[in-house]
């Protein structure tokens, strides 16, 4: 009760500080101060502090199960384990927005602390733009999704958190993802500020690159966590379904990846200024669109959680005003491209980075169209459709081949101008060797051998070239690791999809089935009572052709509040293969719906994404580039 009051008034105080910061920063701009005003700094700190207080009081309400708070009532339950009481704070709409706000205020504070070498006016302008965003979120929280609404009479028990969200990976997935999203807001504000100050140049690029790398790192890890969760929790045995909710996180990622590369051109060659700016704006826009689509209930997704359309309207208006503002600024303050250095040669590192950007934009448009087309069609014609994985696979995978080859060759080109004669024959031979190896691996699969072997070959090529690069002394470690990771990533996905096998049946206890060369035996079940659910654990014995026996223990959990069944897959991971089994109740408790899958190289998909993101974060610690 008390904590909700504290949280609410703290939030209002934060809002007031935000408004005063907005005006104060305009006031400061007019003065010709050399240093940033100490008051601004204190205000920023106070603002962060109020949001922290607000957030802590919400967490506290969750921990003590204070059901007079509507958010707690709707999303928590007194029997829930403490860990999920805490993580449940951001497992819902209101709490997750408060978390957004928390990260927003934290980031602008950090930005000001770590940008002391930048011009004062630029820093104040960044604060100004960031405050517009922060203000928008304050209003959004206070007007449409107040986390501290009271309930009277006070209910005795809460409604509980959706059990599939009661999971460690999903507990940290939103905060990490938000670090990425919100990081892009800093890039957005800083870009607009430097547009007005007309200081989009090499020095600015070096400074903003760190923020791009940080956001990119968190965004990548955030998406990875969501994907791992989907793999073991949803029971489909896949890690990416081209589901709208996944796509909206991929869109800012593609944009940010393009920006990551472009900013290097800006840093080295002082080129592509407008383009850098456009990408900064686009990345933030897509982060906001992601929030909007997920939170508004517009998405017709199989894993949208219940939500409220009115909120969507607010985000939509907010989003459009931000886009409108940035477009106007973009036209008023023309970026003057530096013409003297504007020599683009066909074969050079900057061209290869541009090619990367083109591909990213193409992938982005495919994902964007595939995600939004059903929404538009429904609004216009009232027809309901969905667009499945084949659409994305067909449009993205063939282009991936060319993309991989460029990715293998591009980074080794020189800046400004290179000659195609510098590409050594050994590289061309290596390429064909890769295709041969790949053909040898995939030759026994049934479909599209030629296509698979070329794709596999290209991925292998990228992998080999980067391994060689890694072993040579004069390498760019962060880039090599990321690119190596990407090669491994495509390769593992390809092998995974080619060699995955699946078997499903309805089985009784004691039944034994033979599928291909494996014997699957349903041994027994046992029931256990846990803190807030009843667990039914089955025991399966898998005997493969070499008589190796694996025991698997898939589980069904019957949660008491809300009363929901979830299946917990059991996965045995080895270096080469994941054995994945999931069971489900069908009718009564005698016959179980069993799905057994073998998924090769699953762990390599996760490892490769880790490599990709580690490469990105390593760049921050690097003092000099080659």
């Amino acid at each position: 009760m008390i904590s909700s009051h504290i949280g609410y008034y703290s939030l209002i105080l934060g809002f007031v500080i935000s408004v005063s910061l907005l005006f104060y920063s305009i006031f400061c701009l007019k003065k010709k101060n050399q240093n940033i005003n100490q008051n601004i700094f204190s205000l920023l700190f106070m603002q962060f502090f109020t949001v922290v207080i607000s957030f802590i009081s919400l967490v506290y309400s969750f921990v003590i199960s204070d059901f007079s708070n509507a958010t707690v009532y709707n999303n928590s339950h007194s029997t829930k384990p403490l860990f999920y009481k805490i993580t449940g704070t951001w497992g819902n709409h209101e709490g997750s927005l408060l978390l957004w706000l928390l990260v927003l205020t934290l980031f602008i504070l950090l930005f000001i602390i770590f940008s002391k070498k930048q011009p004062t006016k630029y820093r104040i302008l960044s604060i100004f733009f960031q405050q517009i965003i922060i203000l928008g979120f304050f209003l959004f929280l206070l007007l449409t999704s107040n986390p501290f609404n009271f309930l009277f009479p006070v209910p005795n028990e809460g409604l509980g958190l959706n059990p599939i969200l009661q999971d460690p990976a999903l507990a940290i997935h939103p905060p990490i993802l938000y670090l990425g999203y919100v990081g892009s807001s800093i890039i957005f504000s800083a870009s607009l500020a430097s547009l007005i100050q007309n200081n989009i140049n090499k020095e600015w690029a070096t400074h903003i690159k760190k923020w791009i790398q940080i956001s990119w790192f968190f965004l990548t890890i955030g998406i990875l966590l969501g994907s791992i969760w989907a793999y073991y929790e949803l029971g489909w045995g896949g890690f990416w379904f081209w589901d709208p909710v996944e796509n909206v996180s991929l869109m800012p990622w593609l944009c940010l990846t393009a920006l990551f590369h472009t900013v290097i051109v800006l840093e080295k060659r002082n080129l592509l200024r407008s383009w850098t700016l456009i990408l900064s704006i686009a990345t933030f826009t897509f982060s906001m669109i992601g929030t909007f689509l997920v939170r508004s209930g517009i998405l017709n997704s199989v894993h949208t959680f219940a939500n409220d359309p009115e909120r969507g309207v607010f985000i939509l208006i907010f989003l459009f005003s931000l886009i409108f503002l940035s477009i106007i600024l973009f036209f008023i303050y023309q970026v003057n491209e530096n013409n003297t250095e504007k020599n683009f040669f066909l074969i050079s590192k900057e061209t290869s980075i541009l090619i990367n950007n083109w591909f990213m934009m193409y992938f982005l448009s495919v994902v964007l169209i595939g995600t939004t087309y059903p929404i538009f069609l429904e609004v216009i014609t009232n027809e309901k459709i969905s667009i499945g994985p084949p659409f994305f696979n067909k449009l993205i995978i063939p282009f991936l081949i060319i993309f991989l080859i460029f990715m293998a060759l591009g980074p080794n080109l020189k800046w400004i101008k290179d000659n195609y004669k510098n590409i050594k024959y050994s590289k061309i031979i290596l390429f064909f060797v890769c295709i041969l190896i790949s053909f040898y691996i995939v030759r026994k699969t049934s479909s599209e051998i030629l296509f698979s072997s070329i794709l596999g070959g290209a991925a292998l090529y990228l992998l080999f070239i980067n391994i060689r690069e890694f072993l040579s002394k004069k390498n760019n470690t962060s880039q090599t690791i990321s690119h190596l990771g990407f090669g491994l990533f495509v390769l593992s996905i390809l092998l995974n999809s080619l060699f995955s096998d699946e078997f499903s049946a309805n089985m009784k206890i004691g039944q034994e089935l033979i599928y291909k060369k494996e014997q699957i035996k349903f041994l027994k079940i046992k029931s256990l009572d846990k803190e807030n659910y009843k667990s039914v654990i089955a025991n399966f014995e898998i005997k493969d052709e070499k008589k190796n026996i694996t025991f698997l223990y898939p589980e069904i959990r019957i949660y008491n509040q809300p009363n929901i069944l979830t299946s917990e897959a059991d996965i045995k991971t080895t270096v080469f293969l994941d054995k994945f089994i999931v069971i489900n109740l069908l009718k009564g408790e005698e016959i179980f719906n069993v799905r057994y899958q073998t998924k090769p190289f699953m762990i390599w998909i996760w490892i490769s994404v880790c490599l990709i993101s580690i490469g990105g974060i390593l760049g921050i610690f690097k003092k000099t580039n080659i």
């Binding site: 199989v302 083109w358 667009i387 049946a505 069944l565 009718k587």
Partner: protein, 141 residues
């Protein structure tokens, strides 16, 4: 007439244009091929013709006491309280698949009353109902 630079630039621009046009064409073309329509049992009854090569989604409620099982197959009836359709499926079902609950099945029509499902879609919330199902049910009340 024009300098070499202008020509090059023109060439470059037309190159970009062709690429953009080509990718838009590709995207739209494959959009057309890969769209999956959502249809209710009543709409199936009223379809002018049955295309059994077109992947569709059927949504509604799993009719009470219609789930039948054997080792490899599950069959049940999807209803929108006006019309029914018989569904056969072999494979894994999501957690909340049960009689009297909402369901979306994706697959191919054999004829107007038999549907061969390839996928049963999951929901994550017992109270959640795919918007299509909700509307289809409301439209038929």
């Amino acid at each position: 007439m024009y300098g070499k630079k202008v020509k090059l630039r023109l060439l470059f621009l037309s190159f970009i244009f062709i690429i953009v046009a080509l990718s838009v064409f590709l995207i739209l073309k494959s959009l057309e091929e890969n769209v999956v329509y959502f249809i209710s049992p009543t709409e199936i009854k009223n379809l002018p013709e049955i295309d059994n090569k077109k992947r569709i989604r059927v949504g509604g409620m799993v009719k009470k006491e219609t789930i039948q099982l054997n080792q490899n197959k599950i069959s049940f009836v999807i209803t929108d309280f006006k019309n029914d359709i018989n569904v056969t499926y072999s494979g894994a079902v999501p957690n909340l698949f049960a009689e009297g609950k909402g369901v979306v099945a994706e697959g191919y029509l054999n004829d107007r009353s038999f549907f061969d499902a390839k996928k049963i879609l999951a929901k994550h919330d017992e109270n959640y109902m795919p918007p299509e199902v909700k509307e289809a049910l409301e439209a038929n009340k």
